[in-house]
Every structure is written in C-alpha cells, then in structure tokens.
C-alpha cells in the first residue's frame, strides 16, 4: 500500500526543569493512503505528540518524519505552514473554530489561505458543508451551533482542501455518544467514499470500534499495531 506518513525512530524528549521526559521513545510507524487508523492509549501515552509531529506542529528530538516523501525536518516554518495548508487537515477536540466567522467562512478558511478563486471556493465549501450535513446552516456562527454541528464544521474545514491526511485529536471527546456516532459515520463515509486518510488520537471506544487499524501507544512506544479487515 502507498504510504503517506513515515515515522522512523522518532523520539521526543521534553525538559521539565531538570527532569527529562521522554514523551515518545523510538517510534517507527507508517500510515498508508486510505487508512482509518487510531492511536489509542491512556492519557500521557504520547498519542497527541505523535499527531503533532506528523502535522509538523512539533519537531522530533531524534528521528525523521516524512509526509508524502518530504522530510519535515528539512522544512522552514513557512514551508511547514505550506505543507499543513495544502496536505493536512486537522480536527481538534475543542472544535477550535474561529468565533468571528460563520460556518461557511470557517470551512472556507484554508481555501482562502490557499488563494482558491471565489467561484471554485464557493462550490467546494457548499458541497462539503452539504456532505457533513450542514446545508442551510452556512451563516451560523460557532456560538449559534451545537457541539456536534461545530465539530462537523471543523471536519468540513479539514476535508475541504482534499488533504493527504486528516489528523483528528480526540474529535469525539466533547460530544455526547449519539453525536459521536454520527460524526464517526460521517468520517467513515468520507474515508470510504473519497478515500480520505484519517488518523485519530483517542481513547473513545466508539472511535476504536470503527477503526480499520488500531495502534496502541503506551509510555511513548507503539505497544501494538493491529489491522482489522
């Protein structure tokens, strides 16, 4: 299978005062195109740190991260911003929508950054909002929407650019189980119908149950990596 992300002998060490904390310890991992994978494990096991490294938000202390064959270690901050803008979608636990923007504008935000022309942008945003079930709510601001609706906007924002991979950090943590199921339905459909690669960080059993691949992280190491057919 075609690999999108490659982590080779990654370690991430934080300095807390005089104590060294090894958040990730010599992890090697590859994420393939079309994966619907979860990084699961207890809090502090290193799941989010791995997502941050893949997303170019953080740098490994040791090892290298490749995204679509590009070594992130060799990139400047501006180049990393370009990569994130064009190749990665992010979904956060707390939705993290921009409060002064409507659902439409939030979903269009990254396309704006990419400089996509108004007509194309409009078509893609409207189509994506419809896909995530928000047709008719385009003009609502985040504070006028429920948590589930906000997370749908966040998903729309993440997929509207057709990224190589969507990194979702605890995307269901702030919603009730019913909403979590519907969000997972949505992401699963996007994965199956459009082939969008998802990598989750979660300890929500709902997510784990839906995953095609479960990567267990413990004490900064990959404890197991199991594929479900």
């Amino acid at each position: 299978m075609e690999s999108i992300v490659e982590l080779k002998n990654i370690s991430k060490i934080y300095q807390q005062g005089e104590v060294e904390v090894r958040a990730i310890n010599d992890v090697s991992l590859s994420v393939n195109k079309g994966d619907f994978a979860v990084l699961c494990g207890p809090s502090g096991s290193g799941k989010t740190s791995i997502l941050n490294l893949i997303g170019g938000l953080d740098e490994p202390t040791l090892g290298n991260v490749w995204l679509e064959g590009v070594n992130l270690a060799n990139q400047t901050n501006a180049q990393l911003a370009e990569i994130r803008k064009n190749r990665i979608g992010f979904v956060f636990q707390a939705y993290n929508l921009i409060p002064v923007m409507t659902a439409y504008e939030n979903a269009a935000f990254v396309l704006d950054l990419q400089g996509v022309k108004e007509k194309v942008r409009h078509e893609r945003v409207m189509q994506t909002l419809a896909e995530v079930g928000l047709k008719g709510l385009e003009h609502r601001r985040p504070d006028e929407m429920s948590g589930g609706q906000q997370q749908r906007v966040a998903i729309a924002r993440a997929i509207v650019t057709r990224p190589a991979i969507v990194l979702a950090d605890e995307p269901t943590a702030n919603v009730d189980s019913h909403t979590a199921e519907s969000l997972l339905d949505l992401m699963q459909n996007l994965n199956q119908q459009h082939g969008i690669t998802f990598l989750f960080s979660t300890h929500d059993q709902h997510v784990i149950d839906r995953a095609k691949r479960i990567i267990q992280v413990q004490d900064g190491k990959i404890a197991s990596d199991e594929c479900r057919v």
């Binding site: 370009e82 921009i98 409060p99 704006d112 950054l113």
Partner: protein, 412 residues
C-alpha cells in the same frame, strides 16, 4: 474571508475594550490638537505682535544697528529698497520706522524713555499694536501739528494729558543733542508697564527732521510677512539679493532673541507634553493589543496549524491595530472638530485671571486663549498618532507571529 475583514471583526469581539482604546486615541487627538493648536496660535500671535511692535518679521537696518543701535546708523534710499521687497510673494507689508532713545520732559518732571517714529499714512490699527491700543486722542497725520502719542504710564509720570506739551531730547545723526517740543495727541495703553511707561510714538517726518535724516532715511525697514514661518526663507532670499548687500537683513529670531528663546523653551515643554500624550496613547494600544493576542494564543495556534503563515498572523494583528487606530482617529476628529471650531472662533477669555493685557518675552498678548493649527500640524498629529498606534501594535503582532503552534494548542 480576507485578513482585513477578519481583523475588523476581531476588533469587535470586545466592543467595550475596543471603544475604550479608540476613545483614548480620540482623547489623544483632542489633547494633541489643543496643545499643538495653542502653540501654533500663541507663537504666531506673539511673533506677529512682536513684529507689529517695531521690528517686523524681517528687519533691514544699517550694518551693526541691531547690536548697537544709534541714530548715526541709518538706512538710505529706503523707497527703492521698499519697492524691491514689496514685490516678493511672502511679504505683506514694509514699514519705515525710526527708533531711538530720548529724555521726555514736562513742566513738572523728566523721564527717560524711547521713541518709535512711524508713517501715520502707512500704519493703522491692523499693523500697529500701539495704534490699536489707543485709549485717548490719536495719531496726528498732520506733521505741522507736531503731535506725539505717549504710553499711559509715561504720561502719568510726566503728569501730562492729551493736548499738553512735552519736550523731548535725543541725539541726531551726527551725535549732537537735539530737542523738540510736541503736543500730546494721544495716549495708548497696552497693559505692559515696561512699554506704557517708556514709549512715545512720533510721526516719521518729524523724527527725520529732528535727527537730520533725509526723507528716504530711516533706522529700519520692518517687513511683515503673511506667514511668520517664512522668516528664515525670506531673510536668506533678501541676503542673496544685490540690493541688500550693504544692509543687515535679520529675522525676528535675531532681532528678538528673548522672544525666540522663550518660544523655544515653551515649545520644548510643549513637546514633552505631546510625548506624554503619545506615550499614554501607545500604552493603551499596546495593552489592548497585547491582551488581545495573549487571550487568542490558542486560536493563533489553530490558525498556524491550519496553514496560516507567521507573516500573515503578524499582518492580521497589525491590521487590527490599523483599524483600531483609524477608528480612534475618526472618533477623535469628530470629537475634536466642535472643540476646535469653538476655540478657533471664540476661545476662552482669560482676562479675568490675567487682566486685559499681559506680555511674554516683552511681547503683548491677547488674553483670549484660542487655538489654531497649521496644516502641517494637523498632518503631523494624525500621522504621528496613527504611526504610534501601528508601532504600539507591532510588538503584539510580532508576538503573534512567533506563536509556537504546539504550545498554543495546549493553551486554555
């Protein structure tokens, strides 16, 4: 959504905070206009008043007259010189005057003082402060009547009134002591004791006859300008002209160094006040923008995670400062306009506190406090405050651009 729209909306997340900060900028405009306008108005009034009191904005005199005045030093062929000067665009008027020192005597008393001889046909209440300050009688235009106008305190010292005779003694152009008799035709009161108690005004022809000057010989040519700020320009221009090669051409800063010095000192303290205003305004903006950046740290982290470049984040915060400054300036202009119009047209009468006349640097001042801004001062205030606002926003913007996404995403 473009950055401009986003910046504008961000500004209204905290309406009250934005309005308070914009109001502080607006208040800065009001204060800056008041301080600068008062300076522009008073300095111009003082300089113009000083010019009207004798030497003009530009003074043409015989070589070394200004350093050591004497009846022996006088200008010749002033009619030709006047014609040359009056052709220049900056020049409002040229007045021939004779200055001198004299001993004034009445039947009862003698008092030392000075005289200024003017051409009554050329000078009036618009270009001569003493004629404007006339409280009894007037300046006789008939030379045969041998009239003299005295300052009120000089007349009191001599125990004279309008219609009474006075003898004055001075030295002529050869250094000989000469005396003449005159009849008091008028009295003036400026409010400045040092002037009212020492100065007499004579008709030019009379003074020329007594001093032995020919009709086109005077002590000085006092040149008044439409705009006193052109004094250096015109002085330099005249100095370069061949006709004025053997004449001292001085601007008011040279003939009235006390006034120039006092204005310079006052301007410095005015600049300090303006600097304090600027610092207050900047501190307000810096505080607002810094708070705004710090409380949106997580949001900036998200934006960077989504692919926004540090440069665009810097630009976003700078645009917020831009809109905040523009808003503050607009409110400031709206707020300041009625105040400025009132202070320009009516002003505040301070005569109750300071009396009808008070002097500064030997120059009489109007007791009505008014303000007036030069065009360049308006531009300087607006650009200065706007620039300061942007400068104050630069540090928070820089901080925003340096946000580490991974750290910011951890922020609450």
């Amino acid at each position: 959504m473009n950055l401009n729209t986003l910046a504008w909306r961000n500004l209204w997340r905290h309406k009250r905070r934005t309005l308070i900060t914009a109001s502080s900028i607006a208040f800065g405009v009001l204060l800056a206009v008041t301080f600068t306008g008062a300076g522009d108005y008073f300095y111009t009034r003082m300089i113009d008043a000083g010019a009207n009191m004798g030497m003009g904005h530009i003074t043409l005199a015989a070589p070394d007259y200004n350093r050591a005045p004497s009846s022996k030093k006088y200008l010749k062929q002033v009619t030709e010189l006047k014609q040359k000067i009056i052709q220049l665009n900056e020049v409002k008027g040229v007045l021939a005057r004779i200055h001198g020192q004299a001993m004034f005597a009445s039947a009862r008393k003698s008092v030392g003082g000075m005289f200024m001889a003017i051409d009554p046909q050329q000078e009036n209440t618009n270009n001569n402060l003493f004629l404007k300050a006339m409280i009894a009688g007037g300046m006789s235009t008939d030379d045969s009547k041998k009239g003299i106008v005295l300052g009120i305190d000089l007349a009191r010292k001599l125990k004279l009134d309008v219609g009474k005779k006075v003898v004055y003694t001075t030295t002529d152009k050869t250094g000989e002591i000469v005396s003449a008799i005159a009849r008091v035709s008028g009295l003036f009161q400026t409010g400045a004791i040092e002037i009212d108690g020492a100065l007499a005004i004579l008709p030019l022809k009379t003074a020329q006859q007594i001093l032995g000057y020919k009709p086109d010989q005077v002590s000085v040519l006092a040149v008044t300008l439409y705009d006193q700020r052109n004094s250096y320009l015109l002085r330099d221009k005249l100095q370069k002209m061949a006709e004025f090669k053997n004449v001292d051409v001085l601007n008011w800063q040279q003939t009235q160094p006390d006034l120039a010095g006092m204005i310079a000192v006052d301007k410095s303290s005015n600049h300090v006040s303006q600097l304090l205003i600027a610092m207050l305004v900047s501190a307000g903006i810096l505080n607002t923008m810094l708070m705004s950046v710090l409380e949106r740290k997580r949001e900036f982290g998200v934006m960077m995670a989504l692919g926004m470049s540090p440069r665009n984040l810097f630009l976003l915060v700078m645009l917020e400062s831009f809109w905040l400054a523009l808003l503050g300036l607009i409110i400031g202009v709206i707020m300041t306009a009625p105040w400025y119009l009132f202070m320009t047209n009516t002003g505040i009468d301070l005569s109750a506190a300071y009396g009808e006349g008070f002097s500064f640097g030997g120059v009489l001042l109007d007791p009505v406090f008014k303000i007036r801004l030069f065009k360049e001062s308006i531009v300087a205030i607006l650009i200065g405050l706007f620039g300061l606002a942007l400068l104050a926003g630069a540090y928070p913007a820089w901080r925003a651009g340096r946000v580490a996404p991974v750290e910011s995403l951890k922020a609450l």
